[in-house]
């Protein structure tokens, strides 16, 4: 679990996860082309994300495709968001989204 928080604590790595959330199964080159990061930067951050299991990869011929694995985040959620707290947390999260998108 330490690795998950460490991986998420960096804005560049969150941007990488956002890119995979938008389009899953991307190659290193595709990610590099899309983000304001060097190839080395993307590789370094992907390694941290893979170690935290937030990114999982598959070989497809000569290509390595990267996928967002949301399961570790679900495990964190299930550890602390109890049965009774979730409806409140979901409601407040919706409220924040509604208000912020109206501005």
């Amino acid at each position: 679990m330490d690795e998950v928080f460490k991986a998420l604590a960096d804005p560049s790595r969150r941007t990488l996860l956002d890119a995979l959330f938008t389009e899953d199964g991307q190659t290193l080159s595709a990610l590099e082309a899309r983000l304001p990061m060097t190839r080395f930067g993307v590789m370094k951050h992907l390694k941290v994300l893979e170690e935290a299991r937030l990114v999982t990869s598959k070989r497809r011929g000569r290509e390595k495709l990267h996928f967002l694995n949301p399961v570790p985040i679900r495990l964190i959620h299930d550890r602390w968001v109890s049965k009774y707290a979730e409806p409140w947390a979901a409601g407040l999260s919706e409220l924040k989204k509604d208000i912020e998108t109206k501005e």
């Binding site: 598959k58 996928f67 694995n69 949301p70 399961v71 009774y84 979730e86 409806p87």
Partner: protein
């Protein structure tokens, strides 16, 4: 479109295989829905919600290699919207790692921009499976209970 979900669970491949294929065990972490089949290659399987009697999903067991690999075709049946998505494919892969197993669920052959209800439940299901196998307890977050009939008091 392809989605990949991965989790480490401290258990044996045999126990994990049983938890995936045993109808009653499956109900404990799969939104209350089990799966019934004779698990021979090429056989059919179906998931029916036991209380509501509603068909949730069905398909064919394309590859059955206990306790390592299960490939299934998947047709979601719980609403007209998901029925329109047609047939996709779910691959379960179990790999022992030390005293644990890595379980990878790959849901592919999905239409580009497919309804996210089709694959959005996997993190909750896998989290519940991990809790069940590692602690023997049921995960009781409302998400995991939403369709199990036990959540009426929280919704």
């Amino acid at each position: 479109m392809e989605k990949v979900f991965e989790i480490y669970i401290k258990t044996t491949p045999e126990r994990l295989w049983e938890a995936i294929t045993d109808e009653e065990t499956r109900q404990k972490y799969n939104f209350g829905v089990g799966v019934s089949s004779d698990w021979t290659p090429g056989s059919r399987y179906e998931s029916v919600h036991p209380q509501a009697g509603i068909a949730i999903a069905e398909g064919e067991n394309l590859e059955v290699e206990p306790p390592r690999r299960l490939v299934q075709s998947f047709t979601a049946l719980w609403s007209d919207q998901v029925k329109d998505e047609g047939v996709s494919r779910v691959t379960w892969e179990i790999e022992p790692v030390g005293s644990s197993c890595r379980l990878t669920v790959t849901h592919d052959q999905l239409r580009e921009g497919a309804n996210d209800e089709l694959y959005g439940g996997w993190p909750m299901i896998l989290s519940g499976l991990k809790t069940l196998l590692e602690s023997g307890e049921l995960l009781d977050t409302p998400g995991s209970l939403r369709y199990s009939g036990a959540s009426a008091d929280t919704e």
